[in-house]
Subunit: 490 residues, 2 copies
C-alpha cells in the first residue's frame, strides 16, 4: 500500500470548485456526506460511505490544495485510487462509486455548506524530539492545523449538520476545542448553535488485506456531546457499519471515547515495550522467548502478551500515548502519564538494540554489505510511516555499511527518498555479507525464499522478527551463521 | 479459605517418624510421591497426587516441625484438611485419600529416602523494604531456606529419584542451585550423579472455587535439566493432569520454564499497574473507566486490559517480577528488569491512592467510623497474604478512623492479628459513617445487601472495585453519597 506520487500534477491557482460541486449534487435527493481529509483513513472512509449498507449518499472528499495533498484529489477524480492496498475490496468499492457517480473529490471548502454529515479524518500529529540514540527528549502537540480545519467547517456548515470526529485527538478535544470553535463561527454567521450535532467515533482502521472490513465489519465505540448528538451519530454509523454482527458501543461522553482510542493504543504500545527487557533476559539466559510466549498465551488471561521484535511503527502506537499524556496536563490539570510515555520511549529505542545485537554479537559491520528484507513497519503492508527499519537503516549506514533494500510492497521509501527493490533475487547477486529480516512479510516464509538462501555462499542471517521455523533454522545453520532476536538458545 | 490455626498442638521433641512412614509404606507396590511443603500449593498437590488419574501412588506430605508448620501435619493426619476452600473437590479428594489410606503427612526427612518422585512446593520469598508511603526502597532474595530444603533432599534421596520443582524460583535456579546441591550430596554419599532426574513445571494454582481444577484441569508448561529428565517429568505429569484436554507444553530448558512463570505474573502485574494513571485521568476527565475498558475489550487483541481497583495482593504478583529482576542480575550478569519492577512499585502504592481519593474527595476521616467490606485480596476467597486492604486499613487507622472489618471468608486476619466479622448486619448496627467495598465478594452484589444499605441513615459509600451496577448507583445515590474509584462521571 502506497500513496501514489503525483508531483507532476499542477495545483489550480483559483481555488474555486463550486460549479463542479453544484453539478455533482444537482437534482439529487440523497443526503450529502463530506469527508475531511483524504489520507489512509479518509480516502477509504469516503468509498465506504459511497457504498453505504442501507442508504444512498452523495460523498464529497475534501483535502487541501497543496503539494502534499492535491495529487490525491486529482487522482481520485481521474479514476485512480490513491492508495495501493492488498485488499481487493478497495478497488471494488472505488469502481462502484465511479459507476454510481456518487463520489467527488475537491479542495473547495464550499463542500461543507452542502453537507448533512461531515466526517473529520485529518491528521493530528505529535512533534517528537529525539537525540541521536533515539531517546525521546521532548514532544509537543500543535493543535493549529486541526483548529484551522475545524474553523473552516464552522465557517461554511449548515446549522443542523452532524460533525463526526474520527481523528485521534487528545481526550477532551471535542468538548474543549471543536465545540467552542464551531459554536463561535455559527454565532458570527448569525445562526443557531443549538441545532448542530457533534459526535466522536474513532476508527480502528488496519491497512492491509482487511482494509475495508476494518471499517465496515468491526466494532465501533461512539459518543455525542449531548444525547441528540449521540443519537444522530448512532443513526449515521448504522448506515455504514454492519452493526448487527458488530454492535456499536455508546459511551457516556466524548472524553470517554477519545480516551478509549488512545488508551487502547497505549495498552498495545506498553505491552510491546514490556517485552523488551525480557528479550535481553532471554538472550542472556539461553532461552527461546518465542516458545515461552507461546506457552503463556495458552492462558486466556495472557493472550495479549507480545512477541519480541525490531520495534514499533505506524501512525498510531508511536504517538497516541503522548497525545493522552499531553491532554491530561493541558485539558485537565492532571499529571503526565509517565508509564504510557515510557512505552513510547522504550519502543523508539528498540531498533537501536536490534542493531547493537547484530554489531556486537554477530559481526563487525563497518565494511559489510547488508541486505534489509522489508522496510515497512508491518508484515504484508507497504506503510513506511515511522517504521523502525528507518532507525535500523540509519545505524547501519552510520556504521559504514552498504545497505541494499528489499520490500515487495514498497517501491519508493518516501521518508528516506530511496528506491526499494521488489525482486530479492537480483539483490542476492550483489553478494551481501549479512541478510536481515526486518519486516515479517509472507514472502520471506516461502520455500522459494529458503532455497535461494541455501544457494548463497556462507553469510550471516539475522531474523529480528522470529519468522524462521525450527526446521529452517536447522537448515540455514548447516551453511550459514543464524541469529534470531530474543532467542538465546541458538 | 484459611489455614486453620493449630497453635495448641505440641511439636514432638524427638523428630523421628520413621516407623510411621515404614508402616504406611509396608507391603505396598505403589510408587511413592513425596510433596515437600504443605502450604496453599503443596497441601492441595498432595491430595491431587493421592487421587492421580491413572496411577496409584502412596503420597507423603512433608513440612517442617516448627510452630508455623507443624499444626498442618497434625491436622492432616487427624482427618482435618488444613485449608478451608470454596471448592467442594478439596474435601472430596481429601476424604478419598483418607479412605484409601494413601496419604500421610510427616516432618521426617526420612520420607525423601523412600520417594520415587519428590515435588518441591515450598515458599521462596522476597524481602521487600518499603517506606511509610509503601514506596519500595529495596528488596532482597535470600535463598538460604530454599537451599536448606533442597540439601535435605540430596542427603536422603534415592540415586534415581525424579525431583520436580514447582516452587516459583528466580530463573536459573534449577541449573545453578538445585542441580549442583543435589549432585554434591549424592557424590558425598558415594552415589551416582547420573541417574537422578530434575524437572521444572510450575503450577498455576488459583485458590477459590476451582482450586483442584487449577491443578488437574489446566495447561502446564514443563522442562527437564536434560532430555531424560524432561521425559520423566512428562510421564509423571500425565498421571495427575488431564493432558488430553489440557496438553502439556515442553520448553527447551529449565531456565525457559522458570522464566515463563515469572514472566506471566509480571505481565499481569504490569497490566494492572498500567491502569493506575488512566484511573486518575478518567476521574479528572469525568470518564467512567469501566465502560471504556469494557468497550476496548471487544477487540480480541485487547481482551487482557485490566480494570481499576484498590490494588494487588496474593503471593505471586507482588513478588515474581522482583524474582525475575534479581535472577537476571545474579545468575546472568544482566541488568535489573526496570519496567517489571516498576509494576510492583506502582501496585504497592495503589491502596494509598484509594485512601487519598476517599479522604480528599469524599470525607475528612479523622473522626469517622469506617466499615471495610472485604479484607482478602481476591473476591470469594479468604487469602489475606499481601492483601492491599492491609495498607488501606493502616492508612485509615493512622488517620484516626475507627475501622470495622467484615469478610465472609476470613474469620481471623493473621497478618494484623485481628478478628473479622462474618455477619455484616451486626456491624451496620454500629452506624458507620463510611462503608468501603474493599474486596469484590459476591455477597456485596446481592439484593439483600442492597436492601440493608438502603435501610441505613445517609452515609458515604465508596466502591474501590467497581462492583455496583448502574441501577444500584442510582438507587444508592437517592439516599447516600456514592463514590467509585475510576469513575469520574459520578
Amino acid at each position: 500500500m502506497n500513496l501514489i506520487s503525483g508531483k507532476e500534477i499542477s495545483i489550480p491557482s483559483l481555488l474555486d470548485d463550486k460549479n463542479n460541486i453544484d453539478d455533482f449534487l444537482a437534482d439529487s435527493s440523497e443526503k450529502v456526506v463530506v469527508v475531511q481529509g483524504l489520507g489512509f483513513v479518509g480516502a477509504v472512509m469516503s468509498i465506504v460511505c459511497a457504498n453505504a449498507l442501507n442508504e444512498d449518499y452523495k460523498v464529497l472528499g475534501v483535502d487541501l490544495a497543496n503539494e502534499q495533498n492535491y495529487w490525491k484529489i486529482a487522482s481520485l477524480n481521474e479514476g485512480v485510487f490513491p492508495i495501493i492496498a492488498d485488499d481487493p475490496k478497495i478497488e471494488e468499492f472505488y469502481q462502484q462509486s465511479q459507476k454510481k457517480k456518487n463520489f467527488l473529490a475537491t479542495y473547495d471548502t464550499y463542500a461543507y455548506s452542502r453537507a448533512d454529515f461531515i466526517i473529520v479524518d485529518i491528521n493530528l500529529d505529535v512533534q517528537k524530539n529525539s537525540d541521536s540514540e533515539n531517546e525521546l527528549t521532548g514532544y509537543d502537540v500543535d493543535l493549529t492545523p486541526f483548529k484551522k480545519a475545524i474553523t473552516s467547517i464552522g465557517e461554511n456548515c449548515k446549522e443542523d449538520v452532524l460533525v463526526l470526529i474520527e481523528t485521534t485527538v487528545p481526550p477532551g478535544t471535542s468538548q474543549n476545542v471543536v465545540k467552542p470553535l464551531i459554536d463561535a463561527q455559527l454565532k458570527a454567521r448569525g445562526l443557531s448553535t443549538e441545532k448542530w450535532k457533534l459526535g466522536h467515533s474513532y476508527e480502528r482502521v488496519m491497512p492491509g488485506p482487511q482494509y475495508i472490513d476494518s471499517i465496515q465489519n468491526f466494532y465501533r465505540v461512539y459518543s455525542g456531546i449531548n444525547e441528540k448528538s449521540a443519537d444522530a451519530t448512532e443513526i449515521f454509523l448504522k448506515t455504514i457499519i454492519s452493526t448487527a454482527e458488530y454492535p456499536l458501543t455508546r459511551l457516556g461522553n466524548t472524553n470517554a471515547t477519545e480516551m478509549a482510542k488512545v488508551l487502547e493504543n497505549s495498552f498495545r504500545a506498553m505491552n510491546i515495550a514490556f517485552m523488551v527487557e525480557w528479550t535481553r533476559f532471554a538472550e542472556q539466559a539461553g532461552v527461546n522467548l518465542y516458545e515461552v510466549v507461546k506457552a503463556i498465551r495458552m492462558r486466556p488471561t495472557h493472550k495479549n502478551i507480545m512477541l519480541p521484535g525490531i520495534g514499533v511503527g505506524g501512525y498510531c502506537l508511536t504517538k497516541d500515548p503522548l497525545l493522552a499524556s499531553w491532554a491530561n496536563q493541558e485539558f485537565f490539570a492532571g499529571a503526565g502519564l509517565q508509564q504510557s510515555e515510557k512505552g513510547v520511549r522504550i519502543n523508539d529505542k528498540m531498533p537501536i538494540y536490534a542493531f547493537q545485537y547484530l554489531s556486537e554479537n554477530i559481526a563487525k559491520l563497518d565494511t559489510r554489505k547488508v541486505l534489509l528484507l522489508g522496510v515497512s513497519y508491518r508484515q504484508d503492508v507497504g506503510d513506511t510511516r515511522y517504521t523502525p527499519v528507518e532507525t535500523f537503516y540509519r545505524c547501519l549506514t552510520e556504521a559504514g555499511s552498504k545497505v541494499l533494500l528489499h520490500d515487495p510492497h514498497v517501491a519508493y521509501w518516501e521518508e528516506l527518498n530511496l528506491n526499494v527493490a521488489s525482486d530479492y533475487s537480483s539483490l542476492l547477486k550483489h553478494k551481501p555479507d549479512v541478510i536481515v529480516i526486518s519486516t515479517g512479510h509472507s514472502i520471506y516464509k516461502t520455500k522459494e525464499f529458503q532455497e535461494k538462501i541455501m544457494e548463497l555462499s556462507p553469510i550471516l542471517l539475522y531474523d529480528t522478527i522470529g519468522i524462521f521455523t525450527e526446521e529452517q533454522i536447522i537448515k540455514f545453520k548447516s551453511k550459514h551463521i543464524v541469529k534470531v532476536l530474543g532467542r538465546g538458545d541458538i
